[in-house]
C-alpha cells in the first residue's frame, strides 16, 4: 500500500498528539487522586470518570475523584482518603464519589458520597472548620452528614429504607429524610423510609435489629499489607551478611600485596595477611625505624 503525504502528516500529528497528550493526561489523572485502596477482597469494580466501563481494581490502586466503586457478592473494599477519612464498601454495593474538595491549607474538606446500593462505612478522621466543610453520604431519599465520627449507612431492599448507625465514640451524624433531621449520637442507629422522617435514634446492642448489626459486620474489612515476596521481606528485615568477597567473615576487603615497611623496626608491615584481615593494606607510615 502506498502511503500518501497527507496520510503521513496525519499519522505524524496523531503520534505527536498521543506523545504529548498521554503524559498530560496522566498528570491530570494523578492530580485527581484522592486516596488509595487499603483492602480489596473479592471482585471490586471501579469506574473512573471518562472511562466507558468499570474495571477491576486491586490493592493499593489509586482512588480518583468521581470514581464509582462497585462490589460484587462476597466482595468488599476499603479506601483511605488523603483527608484521613476511610470509606469501606460492603458486598453488593455501589458508592459514587460525587464531590471531593480537600484543601488542608484552608482547613477545608467537602466530600459527598452517594450510596446507590448496599452498605458503606465511613470514618471521618479529621475535623475541618473551614467554610463549606462537610462529609455527607447521600442516598436517593436521605442524607447522612458526619460531624467527625464513624458511621455506617445502608439501604434496605425492597422499600429503599435508609439506615444510619453511628459506631463511633464521639461526634454525631445528622440524618435527614422527609425534610427532618435527627442527630444520631455515638453507638445509636436510626432508620428512614423513603420520604419519611428518620426514627428516633436507638442504642446499638447485640440483640438489636439484625439489619443494623449486619450492616456493621458487613462493612468490616481488615486492611491488607502489600504482597511481598520472601526475598523482599528478607531484604527489608536484614540478612546481616554482606558479600563476603575473598574471605568469608572478613570485615576488611582483601589486601593487595603489602611488604614490610621500610622503616619497620619490628613486627609490622608484612603482616597484611593477619587473621580476618585485621591489618589493612597500606598502613600508615610506621612509627618504627632503625
Amino acid at each position: 500500500m502506498r502511503i500518501t503525504t497527507p496520510y503521513k502528516l496525519g499519522l505524524l500529528g496523531f503520534v505527536t498528539a498521543l506523545a504529548i497528550g498521554v503524559p498530560v493526561g496522566a498528570q491530570i489523572a494523578k492530580k485527581n487522586v484522592i486516596g488509595l485502596f487499603t483492602a480489596v477482597a473479592g471482585k471490586v469494580m471501579v469506574t473512573h470518570v471518562g472511562q466507558p466501563a468499570a474495571t477491576p481494581t486491586k490493592l493499593h490502586a489509586d482512588v480518583y475523584f468521581k470514581d464509582a466503586i462497585e462490589t460484587q457478592a462476597g466482595a468488599r473494599a476499603k479506601a483511605l482518603f488523603q483527608d484521613d477519612s476511610i470509606l469501606t464498601v460492603g458486598e453488593k454495593s455501589r458508592v459514587e464519589i460525587s464531590e471531593h474538595v480537600y484543601n488542608p491549607a484552608n482547613n477545608q474538606r467537602s466530600t459527598v458520597l452517594k450510596l446507590v446500593q448496599g452498605k458503606a462505612r465511613v470514618l471521618v478522621g479529621k475535623f475541618f472548620a473551614g467554610a463549606g466543610s462537610k462529609f455527607d453520604v447521600h442516598t436517593d431519599t436521605a442524607v447522612a452528614a458526619a460531624r467527625g465520627t464513624y458511621f455506617v449507612v445502608w439501604l434496605e431492599a425492597p422499600a429503599g429504607t435508609t439506615g444510619v448507625a453511628n459506631i463511633g465514640t464521639s461526634g454525631t451524624v445528622g440524618f435527614t429524610s422527609g425534610g427532618q433531621t435527627v442527630e444520631v449520637g455515638p453507638r445509636t442507629f436510626s432508620f428512614a423510609l423513603p420520604g419519611a422522617p428518620p426514627s428516633l435514634p436507638v442504642t446499638i446492642t447485640p440483640t438489636g435489629p439484625a439489619g443494623v448489626n449486619e450492616a456493621i459486620a458487613g462493612t468490616e474489612v481488615d486492611d491488607m499489607p502489600k504482597e511481598e515476596s520472601s526475598a523482599e521481606v528478607a531484604k527489608q528485615s536484614g540478612e546481616g551478611l554482606g558479600l563476603e568477597e575473598g574471605q568469608p567473615g572478613s570485615l576488611i576487603p582483601p589486601s593487595p600485596v603489602t611488604p614490610p615497611g621500610v622503616i619497620s623496626g619490628s613486627g609490622r608491615g608484612a603482616a597484611s595477611g593477619s587473621p580476618a584481615g585485621s591489618t589493612i593494606p597500606g598502613s600508615p607510615p610506621s612509627d618504627d625505624d632503625d
Binding site: 487499603t38 493499593h60 483511605l80 484521613d84 470514618l123 478522621g125 465520627t149 465514640t169 422527609g178 453507638r187 432508620f191 420520604g195 447485640p206 440483640t207 438489636g208 435489629p209 439489619g211 448489626n213 449486619e214 456493621i216 459486620a217 486492611d223 499489607p225 520472601s230 526475598a231 521481606v233 528478607a234 528485615s237 536484614g238 546481616g240 551478611l241 558479600l243 563476603e244 568477597e245 575473598g246 574471605q247 568469608p248 567473615g249 593487595p256 600485596v257 611488604p259 614490610p260 615497611g261 621500610v262 622503616i263 623496626g265 613486627g267 609490622r268 603482616a271 587473621p275 580476618a276 585485621s278 589493612i280 593494606p281 597500606g282 600508615p284 607510615p285 618504627d288 625505624d289 632503625d290
Partner: protein, 528 residues
C-alpha cells in the same frame, strides 16, 4: 405522612422482635475509630516502605487498642525494618506473651535475634516458628543464615535448600550462602554448583559478581585455605642516606650515637609467623611472633634485632571487630640490649558501610630501656599511652582507599619536672606528648601494581627543659614530616616484590635531634 410513620414503627418492631440475630457482629465490640484510622494509615505507610512514618500510627493504634496482635505484629515488623532491633525484640516478645503459639511472632523474633547476632536464640525461636508455619520459606532461610553465622556449615545448605524450594525467589541468595558454606568446608564441587546457580539466576548483581570470584578461585584449585597458621618472610636491600636508631618509634637517643648522619647500605630480614589456635564463628584467638633483623654494611652499631611475640583474642560482633593484643618487645641495637617493652594494644575496627570503616587504636606500653650501647638509656624508662583513630574510605570494588587519622600519645617518665641541666641527662628529658596526623591513599592497581602514598605529621612536645639544649633550659619540640611511596606487585601466588621510598624530615628546636633522611628499598616477600 401518618402512614409512613406507622409503617416505620411497624418495621422497627418487626426488626427488633422477629428477625433472628445472625450477625457475627453480635459477638464483638463496636470498633474503635482511633484504632481503625491509625492502623489503616500505618499499614498504608508500611506498604509503601515508609517505615519511619508507619511507626507512630501503629503506636497510636496500640494506644487505642492495647495488646492488639495485628498492630503489635506490624509495629514489630516496622521496628525490625528500621533496625531498631532492641525495641522490636520487646514488641515481638509482647506478642508472644499474648499468643505463645504465634508463628509469625516467633519468626519475627527469630529474625530480630538473628540481626542482633544472637544466633542460638534465633534458632530456638525459628524452631517454634517452623512448628507453626511449616511452609514459610523465611523460617528456613533464617535458620540457614544462623547456622552459617555459627560456622555450622554442614547444617547451612539443607535449610537454605528448603527455603528456596518453598520460596523460589530466595534462590539466588540461598544458593549464594549455600555456596559459601560449602566453600568454607572445602566441598568445592558443591560450592561450584551453588555459585554457578547464582551466576545463572542473578548474573548482573553484586552477588553474581562475587560468585564469579569464588568460581575463579575454585577453578584455580580451590580456596586459599585458611590454615591455622601462616608465615611471611622478607628480605630487603636498602640504602639509607642518614642511618638513625629508631626502634619501636621512640625518638633516637641524642647525639651521634643515635643519629649517624652517615649513609649506609643494609640488608633487612623479616620473619613473621602466626598461629590461630582457636577459631569458632566470630571468635578467634592465637599468637604471632615477628623477628626483624638489619645488617648494615659499615654501621654495624646501628643493627637492630627485634623480637616481638604477640598474643591476641579477636571477636567480631556485627560491624565491630575487636582485637585485644598483648605485645612484648625485646630489642637489641648494635648487639646490645636496648629495650624491653610490654604493651596492651586493643584495635577496634568498625565497618560503618561497605565503603567506610574506622580503626580505633588504643595502647598502653611499659618501656624498660637498657643500658647497652647508649649511655643513660634507662632514663627513658616509663609508660606510653596512645589513643587514635583512622578512617578509611574504600572505592567501589574495594581496590583502592583514602585514609586519614589522628593519634595522641603521652610518654610518662620518672623524675621531677624541670630538673634537667645542660649535659646532665635525666628522665625529665623524655616526658612528652605527641600528636600524629596522617593521610594516605592506596591507588587502584595498574597492571597489577599497587601504589600507596602516605604523609604523616608528628608533633612531639616535650614536657620539660632538655639537657641536650646548649643552655639546658630549652623545652624541646619536634616536628617530624614523613612521606612514603610504595609500589608492589604479586609475582607468584606466594611471592611479591615491592619498591619503597621514604623521606623523613625531623625539625627540632634542639639541633642534636634534627635530621633529614631518605631511604630507598626493594622488598621481596614470600607468604606461606
Amino acid at each position: 405522612m401518618f402512614f409512613h410513620a406507622v409503617l416505620l414503627w411497624i418495621l422497627l418492631v418487626a426488626l427488633t422482635v422477629f428477625l433472628p440475630i445472625t450477625s457475627s457482629y453480635a459477638q464483638v465490640a463496636l470498633p474503635s475509630e482511633s484504632y481503625d484510622l491509625n492502623f489503616s494509615k500505618g499499614l498504608a505507610e508500611f506498604s509503601h516502605d515508609r517505615y519511619e512514618s508507619a511507626e507512630p500510627y501503629f503506636r497510636k493504634a496500640l494506644e487505642a487498642k492495647p495488646g492488639d496482635p495485628e498492630a503489635t505484629f506490624y509495629l514489630g515488623q516496622t521496628l525490625t525494618r528500621t533496625k531498631q532491633y532492641e525495641e522490636a525484640e520487646a514488641v515481638f516478645r509482647t506478642l508472644l506473651a499474648a499468643e505463645p503459639s504465634s508463628g509469625r511472632g516467633h519468626l519475627g523474633l527469630g529474625i530480630v535475634l538473628y540481626n542482633r547476632e544472637r544466633y542460638r536464640e534465633a534458632l530456638d525461636s525459628l524452631a517454634h516458628a517452623e512448628k507453626a508455619l511449616p511452609n514459610e520459606p523465611l523460617v528456613y532461610y533464617y535458620q540457614g543464615l544462623s547456622h552459617y553465622r555459627l560456622a555450622e556449615y554442614q547444617r547451612t545448605p539443607p535449610r537454605l535448600l528448603r527455603a528456596m524450594t518453598l520460596g523460589p525467589d530466595l534462590a539466588p541468595s540461598a544458593h549464594y550462602y549455600s555456596g559459601l558454606a560449602y566453600f568454607e568446608r572445602g566441598v568445592l564441587d558443591e560450592a561450584r554448583t551453588e555459585f554457578e546457580a547464582v551466576r545463572t539466576l542473578d548474573p548482573q548483581s553484586d552477588r553474581g559478581r562475587v560468585a564469579g570470584i569464588y568460581l575463579e578461585q575454585i577453578a584455580r584449585g580451590g580456596p586459599r585455605k585458611r590454615n591455622i597458621w601462616d608465615l611471611a618472610l622478607s628480605i630487603s636491600p636498602q640504602w639509607d642516606d642518614n642511618v638513625v636508631v629508631l626502634p619501636r618509634g621512640a625518638s633516637p637517643p641524642g647525639g651521634a650515637t643515635g643519629i649517624s648522619r652517615r649513609s649506609d647500605y643494609r640488608t633487612v630480614l623479616f620473619l613473621r609467623g602466626e598461629i590461630r589456635a582457636f577459631e569458632q564463628g566470630p571468635l578467634l584467638a592465637g599468637a604471632n611472633y615477628s623477628l626483624y633483623q638489619s645488617f648494615h654494611q659499615r654501621l654495624s652499631g646501628f643493627d637492630v634485632e627485634s623480637h616481638t611475640p604477640v598474643a591476641f583474642v579477636q571477636a567480631t560482633t556485627g560491624p565491630v571487630q575487636t582485637r585485644l593484643q598483648y605485645v612484648f618487645d625485646y630489642i637489641k641495637v648494635g648487639r646490645a640490649p636496648y629495650l624491653i617493652a610490654h604493651a596492651f594494644a586493643p584495635l577496634i575496627t568498625v565497618t560503618e558501610t561497605p565503603a567506610l570503616f574506622t580503626q580505633i587504636h588504643l595502647r598502653y606500653q611499659d618501656k624498660d630501656y637498657q643500658h647497652g650501647r647508649f649511655k643513660s638509656n634507662s632514663f627513658r624508662d616509663g609508660h606510653n599511652w596512645l589513643a587514635g583513630a583512622t578512617q578509611y574510605w574504600l572505592s567501589d570494588g574495594k581496590t583502592a582507599h583514602v585514609r586519614a587519622g589522628y593519634t595522641y600519645d603521652k610518654e610518662i617518665t620518672g623524675g621531677p619536672k624541670n630538673v634537667s641541666k645542660a649535659t646532665q641527662a635525666s628522665p625529665a628529658d623524655w616526658a612528652s606528648q605527641g600528636h600524629r596526623f596522617l593521610v594516605g591513599t592506596l591507588l587502584p592497581p595498574i597492571h597489577h601494581i599497587w601504589v600507596d602514598l602516605g604523609f604523616d605529621y608528628y608533633l612531639q612536645r616535650y614536657d620539660n627543659a632538655n639537657s641536650f639544649s646548649p643552655s639546658g633550659d630549652v623545652v624541646r619540640t619536634d616536628k617530624i614530616y614523613t612521606f612514603s611511596v610504595t609500589a608492589s606487585r604479586q609475582i607468584t601466588d606466594r611471592f611479591s616484590l615491592a619498591l619503597q621510598y621514604l623521606r623523613t624530615q625531623a625539625d627540632s628546636n634542639i639541633a642534636t635531634f634534627a635530621y633529614d633522611r631518605n631511604i630507598y628499598a626493594a622488598v621481596l616477600t614470600g607468604q606461606f
